[in-house]
Symmetry: C2
Subunit: 248 residues, 2 copies
DNA sequence: CGAGTACTTGACTGTGGTCAAAGCCAGTGG
DNA sequence: CCACTGGCTTTGACCACAGTCAAGTACTCG
């Protein structure tokens, strides 16, 4: 595979995600490609946007794993979202200007910075594309709501299982899940920060899930062993991810 | 006060909220007023939108208290958001079409139904107004993130205190907070469903907060007793509510 | 090969859940 | 006007899930 073809695939992951939901015109496709220019590479564990800063750009994740998190004064940290290849990590900063959370890489990442100025132009010239982008931020909020449900009402095992189910579904649609497994560049501590548990307890839960033959998470890879029982334990129903086509 | 003036005030609460953030032109104001026509009244405790249904309208809350919630199969319920006068409860259904959660009144409510068809017209004709509405859904997501932080990392007292702080700030900007207090049409059970605790424990926490002289919640009314200590306990900083003016 | 990070495990603790019963209050009907 | 009802709140006794603390193991990377 040439570098050029490789680059195209990376840029196209967002287009594929959008195209799977509603039809994108050639013009819209071109407009999106045109604004996703400024390419950057970041190492793992780098905070790339800090809460409260003024932002001029939104971050389109081309490859790698990114999280958004909030800190408590006493040192506690809650990861509020995970992002995979093709996600518009902080599209909401276009209207919010300054963010209420930090953005950090969890693995080495490649991104495109998209100027808010260019997004504004899209809202002036491409109403349908604007609605599609708006849709993306609304799906993001829907994931927040499902996480609220996990954090508020599911027990430890169901929380961990649910997260592993969600990430499986998300990796699957971008073609990065293989043989019932997928790569997940998280430490157990970071996983704990997603699900509101301690690292120690996450470790115990993972052992239990593994011994019960539901799922394993080792060496940064998740392997699904029994999808029906896993989704049943987690109460996972993927409607909230909005993967079905519709007219926007 | 005449009925007509009263009606105007109700419609204008959304306009005031938007106008406090960024300047609304006369045309934009008129466009918003024009689409908020279909007026409805609902009794308390009525589920008005169910998860998964196809929606043709979004709900602008004119007066009353509304919640959005998700159910677990085993009967558990998590309230993911509360809405006060002037909130666009489910503006996100405009792009999502079907919702991932239910919408329910907590008190008697008055609403305007806004047709998605009309919202679409706005996205075609009023880019700046479109960005303002997009902004509203993004602020909604920011509140979800703060709730994720509460549910995942704050202890019971801080969770309850934080919710009471947030609602105070929100009632204040719509002019419904008076003498350091505000009306909150919630039962302790419903409050528990917001903060991921049991009703019994919420009751204990409320007693503690009251005895410590921080805040009381009795007879559907919250009375702030010591705002500095309450916000300190809660770790409340209102930046995530995006009440400051900015250019969108 | 050594240092540092991540993972694993065990013993013990504590916050918040469960279960149960009683109290309170507003609304309803006799 | 009062008794009854049902929902909400309050309290106590007990329990359990997940947290804390601590020690040890296994990998990775220099």
């Amino acid at each position: 595979m040439t570098d050029v073809a490789d680059e195209e695939i990376k840029v196209d992951r967002l287009l594929m995600r959008l195209g799977a939901v509603d039809r994108l015109s050639a013009e819209e496709t071109a407009a999106l490609r045109a604004i996703a220019r400024d390419r950057r590479h970041y190492p793992a564990d780098k905070t790339i946007i800090r809460a409260g800063e003024d932002t001029q750009f939104s971050t389109l994740l081309l490859s790698g794993l990114v999280c958004r998190y909030k800190d408590l004064r006493d040192g506690g940290r809650q990861i509020s979202a995970l992002h995979v290849d093709g996600d518009f990590v902080d599209l909401h900063s276009f209207t919010l200007k300054r963010l209420d959370h930090n953005v950090m890489t969890l693995s080495a990442c490649e991104v495109s910075l998209v100027a808010h100025r260019d997004l504004k132009d899209i809202t002036e010239a491409h109403p349908h594309l604007t609605r599609m982008l708006w849709f993306l931020t609304n799906v993001d909020a829907a994931r927040h709501r499902e996480w609220e449900l996990s954090l508020g009402r599911r027990d430890a095992a169901a929380r961990v299982a649910h997260l592993l189910c969600e990430m499986h579904a998300r990796f699957e649609i971008i073609g990065l899940a293989q043989e019932g497994g997928y790569p997940l560049e998280l430490t157990q501590t970071e996983l704990a920060e997603c699900v509101g548990l301690t690292p120690v307890h996450v470790n115990r839960v993972l052992r239990q899930l593994r011994e019960d033959g539901l799922v394993s998470f080792q060496h940064k890879r998740v392997q699904i062993r029994d999808w029906p029982r896993l989704t049943a334990l987690a109460g996972f129903r993927p409607a909230y991810l909005y993967l079905e086509p519709q007219q926007i």
